[in-house]
Symmetry: C2
Subunit: 215 residues, 2 copies
DNA sequence: CTTTTAACACCTAGGTGTAAAATT
DNA sequence: AATTTTACACCTAGGTGTTAAAAG
């Protein structure tokens, strides 16, 4: 029943909003498939290890704490979801995002136009209209309770300020640098409402008790 | 240009709200008079030391972070304003409550019925209707940048968790106990919407670089 | 002289991976 | 054997009164 922050966090830039209109921006995390995975150490790969039915659960929505906010303000800043918390506790009552361990997931970002018809700050699920949703291939991740991949561990230690105590000022740095070259998202992800499509340019996203999928 | 939390913080209990209706609850701090004060140490008293015109400033509103919320939820819990921050910086751009040092002030609590006509989460000033305001005589305080009254200092050290490092486990305890007997607010203040009046029963309220008024 | 500012040691509060223990 | 939980040392982040220096 652990609950930890998602790290790296999802960070997005938005353009094409109406400056004076009010928007909510939210994130949720949806299953990529219905498979359960296990990590095969000697081949450094995630392998299918069973099936899971996710169809009866609706994902929880994390509303960005700045919501609601004008399109102008949203577009002026990088929108960071660094306080999102994940848990594997299905009975969680703190509103955190509930995921099953050893499964693949992908975050989605939702931009919701304010509408006086629904209760704006009490949103528990997505409204039927006035929503645009985006997701990014490179933010896919696999959930774990213990790290399987030492490269991910090193990346987390080096990039997460709260893990500074585990940093080795010595030669580990080279290993991390190598991983970062292949780490797809370094700068904020980009959402363009004029194009109405997901234009990814890198950024950061993943989760806490989590390793990336590929090996 | 200091900005510190208000301590003790204002804590209220509410009754008489409509359970299913949505409300904002907010606090602001208004001048008690137009006088500037100085503390006369030998007589342990605040004396008038000048005049100030507060008429051209509208006080800033601090909206309780749980807002908006149903009447049922508001009534079920103690409503604590322990994150309110005060500053003497008139140019403050962080939204903190701006006060002048060496003046007397009194907090006000506002209960605001949700209304689709105004932009609910962007409230900068009080709406013209649908608001009920309460204040409590015993929460009056005088602002300072350095404590004038050693009893207040001792009370803060003993009651504020963040000041634990200054606590003296020895004989100071007796002094504080004596002050607490005369300290008027120990339990949450009470707002009754059926009576539409301020029914005070003690509680806690004051401010950060602040001493109480009386000697 | 009175009042304010800034640096400081000392706290609370909470986010890390780790390693051992517990669970399945 | 694989996975999860728990206690832990070590961090970040930020709230205290104190003190000396600065400002008025």
């Amino acid at each position: 029943s652990a609950r930890r922050r998602m790290f790296p966090s999802v960070r997005v830039k938005v353009k094409g909003l109406e400056p004076l209109k009010q928007y909510y921006i939210a994130i949720d995390v949806v299953p990529v498939d219905s498979k359960r995975y296990r990590y095969v150490y000697h081949s450094s790969q995630w392998m299918v290890a069973g099936n899971t039915d996710h169809s009866c659960i609706t994902p929880r929505l994390y509303i960005h704490p700045d919501s609601p906010c004008s399109g102008e303000t949203w577009m002026r800043q990088i929108i960071s979801f660094d306080r999102v918390k994940l848990t594997n506790n299905e009975m969680d009552d703190k509103g955190h995002i509930i995921l099953q361990s050893m499964h693949k997931y992908k975050p989605r970002v939702h931009v919701i136009a304010q509408d006086s018809r629904f209760d704006l700050a009490q949103i528990q699920s997505l409204p039927a209209e006035g929503v645009q949703s985006f997701s990014f291939q490179e933010t896919e991740f696999t959930t774990v309770t213990a790290y399987q991949n030492q490269q991910i561990t090193k990346l987390k230690i080096d990039r997460n300020p709260f893990a500074k105590g585990f940093r080795d000022p010595g030669r580990n740095r080279g290993v991390l640098d190598g991983l970062l070259e292949t780490y797809p998202w370094r700068s904020p992800l980009a959402l363009d409402f004029k194009a109405f499509g997901a234009d990814s340019q890198g950024g950061s996203s993943s989760s806490s008790p989590v390793t990336s999928s590929g090996g």
